[in-house]
Amino acid sequence: MNTISTGEIRMSGITCRFGDVVAVDDVSLDVAPGEFISLLGPSGSGKTTTLMIIAGFQQPDSGDVLLDGQSIISLPSYQRGFGMVFQNYALFPHMTVGDNVRFPLRMRGVSSPESRDAVGQALEMVQLSGYLDRYPHQLSGGQQQRVALARALVFRPSVLLMDEPLGALDKKLREEMQLEIKRIQKELNITTISVTHDQAETLVMSDKVAVMRDGRIEQIDTPLDLYERPASRFVADFIGESNILAINPDDQGRFRTEDGIHLPGTENLAASSSGWVVVRPEKIHLNAEATGQPSIPAVVEEVIYGGDVDRYRVRLGKSSTIIAKQQRHAGNAPLQPGASVHVHWSDHDCAFLRQ
């Protein structure tokens, strides 16, 4: 394999069918060298199949995968030279940690003193230096995850593939490993493609996120843009928490909800079609008195205590309720259920989605 690969991956027009089911439907994706891309989607969205095609475990019906501009579609997985971390780590149970990490070097015929150094470095990188002679079943889930990472990186691959890498860990460990993996990935500057259904994970780890649905890429963007400017109702719903309100233009071209409420932030919309307004709960201001800004009178229906953040369910009209999140600051008394409030948000804090 080309050892001076930059790790630039380009997928073009990949389609893959299983019988009548189109698992991957004309997917194209460019990954720059050193970039961390997550494939995010519900189960059955085609994200794992896409990863398996890049890894060389699944042949697509059409389309091509390029590494540094050269087609690798006909190369078997063992000649692609990509590191891969599997969902349940797939550590070899009959080998020690050291032998697991040494395996890819052995397959490449690396001499033993050289491989000893490389294995030592790889285990040091994942902070498991003293674990050389342990067996996988003697390790905790987090430690197994680290060994899998060391094994996938020890041969300096140009690309790292991960299939639900943190799916088997508990929440606290998962958050710790997110930062750990991110640190190592940046340190090695390795192109990384990770599959997950956990949107919080992708927002923390990825440079870019490709949201997949029914075998297609629905939107590909930075975590920030994906969160702030979802391109479709599906993405708005899937990433984070959203208030999604259907709106229609009235006779004067002003947008109103189904029960006739004019929403702030929609004055300057040039669109004449119906659609949705998307507002994140933390972008919504609730004021006890009108502040002069365009606002909607509303009533607090429920207060959900959440430690540092209070969440309010607020009724706008007859049929619309929204969720608003408010930080608990020193000295601001929480609103009570039944309180009348004025709801407003800034123009740039809401997104409009055409139907």
């Binding site: 890894a55 475990f57 078997p76 997985s77 063992y78 030279g81 990509f82 590191g83 891969m84 599997f86 969902q87 349940n88 797939a90 550590l91 070899f92 149970p93 009959h94 395996f103 890819p104 397959m107 490449r108 079943h137 094994r151 996938a152 041969f155 593939l161």
Partner: protein, 276 residues
Amino acid sequence: MAFPSFHRMTRAVSVVVIAVIALFMVAPVFFVVPVSFSSSSLIIFPPAGYSLRWYEAYFTVPEWTRATVASLMIASLTTVVALLLGVPAALALVRGNLRGKAVLAGLFLLPLVAPVILIAIAEFGLLSRLGLIGTIPGLVIAHTTVAMPFVVVVISATLRRMDANHELAAMSLGANPLAAFYHVTLPLLRPGIIIASLLAFIASFNEFLITLFVIGASEATLPIQLWKGVRFETNPTIAAASTIFLTVSSLTLLGVEAMKWRQRRMTGSSGDLLSG
């Protein structure tokens, strides 16, 4: 419990029932053990005196030693052939991407459920046409028919319990399919292969009816020699032979259990290889 005395009673009853069943099933078998140590040349139970003369006879009379050697050799060869055919068959059935897997799996297991007499007649027909009646290759072929299903069952179960990602992981790390099989699949299959070999060995070592049909005029195997012994010369040599026979079979089964126990301890799983 609300009725501790009732609970204790049912428990006591079931222990007794199990003991009685075990006694009825096993006792006749172990009846031969004391008889084999008898000093008398008649089969009397309990023996009037004890000696090792029948073991001496067993180890010195050429018919018995030759039959034992023949049985050991045929069982070993059968084990090797059954593994060479059964392991790839199980791999194809579990990992392969082929049509009609269920039908194929059923066919492989057919010798376990088909009446042995039918297999014996069929083997006789086939081997006589091939001119292999009474030859070692003929006996090995016939025994493989009944030994291979054990290999297919055990190896399939082992493969099904094994994470297929191990093989993918090996390949993603640079192992070609052959290297992945050799370094990863095969070592993980090893406990299964040992259990399968023991079962295949015992299937051949114990096999009587089919052997009777295809053995022709050649040297007897141990079960055949026992049968002849019972028919033609009733003295405690057959008890000594039976005891040795019983010991080999029991040790083999004990080996299977030990392997299963080791496997469970290694993987921490409680699944049973044979029922998996």
